[in-house]
């Protein structure tokens, strides 16, 4: 039997977002899904397991340093709608954000395990885990700590991206992860002037991959410069309703909750929420 890591003992559902390919919206997907779940009243933790390129903290707009208490490290947190988001990232532990984290495998593995063991995540409905590209020591650490982890895979519509994700599917199967489904991001761009839809990153890769691997296709998310802008500035919370891609993500979350067998309204929903 595997020991249950102390830090995550009271987390109801853990969901990793993986890809294999870089730059296809893993961090974006974690950030937006986290906001959406929290808006529905869930308590959501987000863990950025991408130690070299921790984009997530910038996207969710939480800044600061993590402190430790007797029980361990305390995540940064913020109420979002009827729910709450708490976050842990390496960027909350370093002083100089421009400093390169040049760590070899064993050190990265140890850090990930600390994030799961020594952080007081508390009682959470969800813990979302953002991962780096590739199949690295970080991924292996997550899978070792959380056997049968539920996983969403992201890809762009290009064959080049889907090819990397195909390998990631094999990795997930080897480690016993439970693949919830595939999300296709960067799925077309609608010109704000003439509404012509352009396939900037080719087309079809996500659905083809899902069909080939007999996985659920959770949906596609269009290219949304507005979303990109707000994620850069950490202003998504106040502006999510102006982002066309947010609606796509809402539908994806509803589908994921359905697949995971989670009630769409959390038990602790506030009255009138």
């Amino acid at each position: 039997t595997t020991e249950v890591f102390a830090g995550i003992a009271s987390v109801k559902q853990i969901l990793g977002v993986l890809s294999g390919k870089g730059g296809v919206g893993k961090s974006t997907t974690v950030a937006v899904i986290a906001f959406n779940l929290a808006s529905r009243g869930f308590s959501v933790g987000v863990l950025d397991a991408d130690l070299c390129g921790p984009s997530l903290s910038k996207m969710i707009g939480l800044k600061g340093n993590i402190h430790s208490c007797d029980q361990g490290w305390v995540p940064l947190s913020q109420p979002v709608g009827a729910g709450i988001i708490s976050a842990v990232s390496l960027s909350y532990l370093v002083e100089n954000q421009d400093q390169a984290v040049i760590w070899r495998g064993p050190k990265k593995t140890a850090m990930i395990k600390q994030f799961l063991q020594d952080v007081c995540w508390g009682e959470l409905d969800f813990l979302l885990i953002d991962t780096p590209p590739g199949t690295t020591d970080e991924h292996m650490a997550v899978m070792e700590c959380i056997p049968n982890c539920s996983v969403i895979l992201t890809t762009s519509p290009q064959a080049v991206a889907a090819a990397d994700v195909l390998r990631q599917v094999s990795f997930c199967k080897t480690t016993g992860a439970n693949i919830v489904g595939i999300v296709e991001t960067l799925s077309g761009f609608v010109c704000p002037n003439c509404s012509d839809c352009s396939l900037l990153f080719n087309q079809g890769g996500g659905k083809r991959l899902a069909d080939h691997c007999k996985l659920e296709f959770l949906g596609s998310v269009p290219i949304d410069p507005n979303l990109a802008k707000h994620l850069d500035s950490g202003t998504l919370l106040e502006n999510k309703d102006t982002c066309v891609s947010y609606l796509s993500y809402c539908e994806i979350v509803t589908k994921v909750l359905d697949i995971l067998g989670v009630n769409c309204e959390p038990m602790q929903a506030e009255d009138g929420g």
């Binding site: 984290v101 070899r104 290009q158 064959a159 195909l166 761009f189 002037n193 352009s198």
Partner: protein
């Protein structure tokens, strides 16, 4: 732990200690009982002569260029491929090496996806494209496109060493090395293996977003720490011009000034700005080059500027 880099005698060693990097490490009579004996005799601390082997093996390669980012998905492999083709069009002899063992995109983009390598007495032969560019990638060594490469750092390092020491590159004007995102085992392996042969320079690739620039700043920090000369910065996916109405859109808004601002503040050359052209994605998937498919396009002009910059930088 033992600081074996300079062959220092450990504090807990007996007086007769020959040093952990000696050929007699752990093997002398006086080593019996020393707590380090097991590790010493296994050769654990013996100086690694890989950099010398790499230098020897790549003696015919004039310039070694790294393509780096820090951020994933900004177009390192695409830029690597087009630099290689642009150089080949100027009649240079070029090789490309993909050390992204988890996500080896380069072989597809170069149009040699699914090829096999042969082993001869002079090592592995790279796969040659129609325009005579030598390509090596782990992709050629995997039996199926579904195989995941689930390797820890040490094994990845071993593979990279094989790529540098066991591939028969021949005489090349340029060897361009595509890297995975981040600053980890693969990057350290490359720098370490090139310790004696010297990296000529690194091209950094970014998109305009702050999320990307943030990672590229770290990569620049890495280059400076490890004394890798920086050729300059390429901003990719800059602007999209609608094919119907010609309206320009910034797909990835440059909330903090984009590549130009980063280059200026870090005092590195801003080489070029590549527009987001749907042709790139289609070409990449089909192993074609925009330099061939659309030689008069804006993006091809920018790529030629990039290639000229690289050539100028590398001139002795």
């Amino acid at each position: 732990g033992i600081n074996a880099e300079y062959g220092e005698i450990p504090e807990n060693a007996p007086t007769s200690c020959p040093g952990p990097t000696s050929n007699n490490a752990g093997k002398l009579d006086g080593c019996a009982g020393c707590p380090n004996q097991k590790l010493c005799s296994s050769g654990e601390f013996k100086s690694d002569n890989s950099p010398a082997v790499v230098k020897e093996h790549l003696i015919g390669v004039k310039n070694k260029i790294l393509v780096l980012s820090g951020k994933g998905g900004v177009g390192k492999s695409t830029v690597t491929a087009e630099i290689a083709r642009g150089l080949a069009m100027q009649d240079f002899s070029v090789g490309v090496l993909d050390v992204d063992v988890c996500g080896p995109s380069l072989s597809r983009i170069m149009g040699v996806n699914g090829e096999a390598v042969h082993k001869s007495s002079s090592g592995w032969s790279p796969v040659y494209t129609l325009d005579d560019i030598a390509v090596m990638s782990i992709d050629f060594l995997l039996s199926s496109e579904e195989d995941a490469v689930i390797w820890r750092g040490a094994k990845k390092n071993g593979m990279i060493k094989e790529f540098l020491c066991s591939v028969d590159w021949g005489d090349l004007d340029y060897l361009i090395i595509d890297t995975p995102p981040g600053t980890s085992d693969e990057h350290l392996a490359i720098v370490s293996l090139f310790k004696q042969s010297k990296v000529t320079g690194a091209v950094l690739v970014t998109t305009p977003q702050e999320v990307a620039l943030s990672d590229v700043r770290k990569e620049l920090n890495f280059c400076r720490k490890l004394k890798i000369p920086v050729i300059g910065l390429v901003e990719n996916m800059s602007t999209y011009t609608c094919s119907k109405c010609q309206t320009k859109s910034q797909i990835f808004p440059a909330t903090s000034g984009g590549g130009a601002a980063l280059a200026a503040s870090e005092n590195i050359p801003m080489i070029c700005s590549l527009p987001l052209d749907p042709l790139v994605g289609r070409s990449g998937d089909n192993g074609l080059s925009v330099l061939n498919e659309a030689p008069d396009s804006g993006i091809s002009n920018e790529y030629r500027t990039l290639v000229d910059h690289v050539v100028k930088f590398c001139q002795p």
